[in-house]
């Protein structure tokens, strides 16, 4: 292999359980699963996966130091990386402790750090999935541009297939039958969504810095809602207020009959909320207990969810022992199994392949038709399009209905 040899980035395609992660790890000289034997700096490679907080070194108190630690000063395309930090609006983030950044910001920082190392080989496992389309294009420009002159990159990314050109592709297949989402699952809930009016909801973490600045909106079950908004626009804050984790400073929630509801008095009574990171939301020692299944699954509502989410074979496993793709599904199913009038799902597609996403979209559409209140937060334009949804946008602390074209315009600003 000559020094000037720089192959084009390669995209690994394949469904869940097709061995993409093991392939990527092997590509950069890591054992197939973490924890195996390994020798220092064997391949001059770098690996970043979707749980990006585990790929922050923990040895740098600021983002800027994190880049320096990874050798930014010696990096031949240092200027490109520094330009990108401006383009990605990471500049202020670089003065903060990397662990205080949002998931998307951490993902960008970990990829930039890996690039700053100037590795011979770079493997990115699903880490770009949590970025907005615009940010992801910027990252791909780096990977396909300056980085490609010195480094061979391979990526696995469930959503990247919807980008045009740029990458070569490999296809992998799973060795046998794998637990998959089933597209024909009916919504098993008996509870139905309630019409809710949000009137003048305001919230601020610090006085004078309103995150929600007078939310006026009428939520009506029947169609899935997709909640959009830039990083830091307040999507999770709004979700926490609706769920009752945070108490709004002012404003109220009214039912169709004009009755006032106060979620903070009974958290998760009206809105169940599935977090983006499933690992934080799994508390039991068996999947069965996590889902609240008592005894053998009968034909109750939760059983339909177990079947629909392809979880039958793992009911007696420890939830946190499962691979990411299944942990995400267990946490999602457990949240849906609360059968609250409304359920908020934050980035439900993370780690799920296209077939599973389509099955999930079909399930959510059917649930909404059956009267369940469903709100989805997703960066994936492709997935949102499958939901036949009402699109709502959080901007400047206010919530408004939009058509999808306006959103892509917003994100490019």
């Amino acid at each position: 292999m000559s020094e000037s040899y720089a192959p084009a980035p390669i995209l690994l395609e394949g469904p869940n359980f097709s061995g993409r992660t093991a392939h990527l790890r092997g590509f950069v000289g890591l054992p197939p699963v973490s924890g195996g034997e390994l020798t220092q700096g064997l391949s001059g490679g770098a690996f970043v996966a979707q749980d990006s907080q585990n790929f922050i070194s923990g040895l740098a108190t600021t983002g800027h130091l994190e880049l320096l630690l990874h050798g930014l000063e010696q990096c031949p395309f240092r200027e490109d990386i520094e330009r990108l930090t401006v383009q990605l609006r990471l500049r202020e983030c670089l003065d903060r402790n990397p662990f205080t950044l949002s998931g998307g910001e951490q993902a960008m920082l970990t990829v930039l750090s890996a690039a700053a190392m100037t590795p011979r080989r770079l493997a990115l496992d699903g880490v770009l999935e949590q970025l907005s389309d615009a940010s992801r294009e910027v990252m791909l420009d780096l990977i396909g541009g300056p980085l490609a002159t010195v480094c061979a990159t391979r990526l696995a990314d469930n959503r990247l297939t919807h980008f045009p050109g740029l990458l070569e592709r490999f296809s992998l297949r799973p060795p046998g039958a794998v637990p998959a989402l089933r597209p024909d699952t009916p919504w098993p809930g008996r509870t139905t969504g309630k019409v809710l009016t949000l009137a003048g909801i305001r919230f601020a973490y610090r006085r004078g810095q309103a995150v929600l600045d007078g939310i006026d909106f009428r939520l009506q079950p029947g169609r899935v809602y997709v909640l959009h908004g830039a990083n830091g626009a307040g999507k999770s804050t709004l979700s926490k207020v609706l769920c009752g984790i945070l108490r709004p400073r002012s404003g109220e929630l009214l039912t169709a009959t004009g009755q006032r509801v106060q979620p903070w008095r009974e958290p998760a009574g009206l809105f169940a909320y599935h977090f983006q990171n499933p690992d934080l939301q799994l508390f039991h020692t068996r999947v069965r207990d996590e889902l609240g299944l008592v005894g053998e699954p009968s034909d109750g509502g939760t059983f339909h969810l177990v079947h629909g989410f392809g979880l039958e074979s793992v009911l007696d496993e420890h939830p946190l022992d499962l691979p990411y793709v299944l942990r995400k599904r267990v946490a999602m199913a457990a949240t849906l199994a609360m059968f609250r009038p409304w359920t908020i799902l934050d980035e439900p597609t993370l780690g799920q392949d296209d077939a599973n996403c389509l099955a999930l979209a079909a399930f959510l559409r059917r649930a909404a038709k059956a009267g369940a209140g469903i709100i989805v937060i997703s960066h994936s334009r492709w997935f949102s399009a499958q939901l036949d949804a009402e699109h709502i946008l959080l901007r400047g602390g206010r919530l408004e209905a939009v058509v999808p074209t306006e959103i892509s315009a917003e994100k490019r600003v």
Binding site: S34, L42, G58, F99, T100, L280
Partner: protein, 244 residues
């Protein structure tokens, strides 16, 4: 960026001076037997804490730690009076002098510790300072990682709490909250173990331990005049507390 670094250099002492001055001043606090001198020294430190911008941290300490301690001192030495001590709690008595000295020492010591080390925690000179204090290899990794990861763990704790509420699993009364603690802490422990496995691999794979020692910094980080100034201050304080 270079200019802001230069400005920071002008206001912070060199690592050796920071360590030595703190040590000398702490000895001063504990050998000083004059409450008035301690009080004046503490007030001086308060001023410096204000200038550094961490006075609120110290006030928090005063309110939640120091004041309860003083109440405890009043209770034990003013009301209960342990055996072998003279009775009576009035100004000028041995107990009043002793408790005042204890309270002032704790306060001044706390202020000193916060002033000297807290500003380091979230700054880029942390690694340089620790290296200058002789930390190398594993010890350096351990020290830097612990300080950096507190923010990570605090964030996780917060998230796990919220996530539990969102799943509708929050308990209402104190007893059930205590009983639920293991279930609530389980995701945290698993997170900690997973992170350790992942991060050890990351450190080895990327050779980060070696890189940590190589982070580029100029020699003689910090300002010589500030160093001399604070060391002189500390020595003067020690001398004063020995003489008074």
């Amino acid at each position: 960026m270079a200019s802001s670094k230069r400005r920071a250099d002008d206001h912070i002492p060199e690592p050796w001076a920071r360590g030595t001055a703190t040590l000398v001043a702490v000895i001063g606090v504990f050998v000083c037997t004059d409450p008035t001198a301690l009080m004046l020294f503490w007030i001086g430190l308060l001023l410096l804490l204000y200038l550094v911008g961490i006075l609120s941290l110290h006030l928090h300490f005063l309110l939640f730690v120091w004041v309860p301690l003083c109440l405890g001192l009043l209770l034990v030495w003013g009301v209960a009076i342990p055996a072998g001590n003279s009775a009576g709690f009035g100004l000028g008595s041995a107990e009043a002098y002793r408790t005042a000295l204890i309270a002032l020492r704790i306060g001044a010591f706390a202020a000193l510790l916060q002033l000297c080390f807290v500003p380091l925690l979230h700054r880029s000179e942390l690694v340089v300072t620790l290296t200058a204090w002789g930390l190398r290899g594993s010890a350096l990794v351990l020290a830097v990682a612990s300080m950096t990861l507190i923010d990570d763990l605090r964030y996780r704790v917060d998230q796990v709490m919220s996530a539990r509420i969102a799943r509708g699993l929050a308990a209402r009364n104190t007893l059930s909250r205590v009983l639920q603690l293991p279930a609530m802490l389980r995701p945290l422990l698993v997170f900690v173990l997973t992170s350790a496995v992942r991060r050890s691999e990351l450190w080895t794979h990327r050779g980060l331990e070696r890189r940590l020692a190589q982070i580029p910094v100029e020699n003689g980080f910090g300002s010589r005049s500030v160093s001399v100034l604070i060391l002189a201050g500390a020595i003067a304080w020690l001398a004063a507390s020995l003489l008074l």
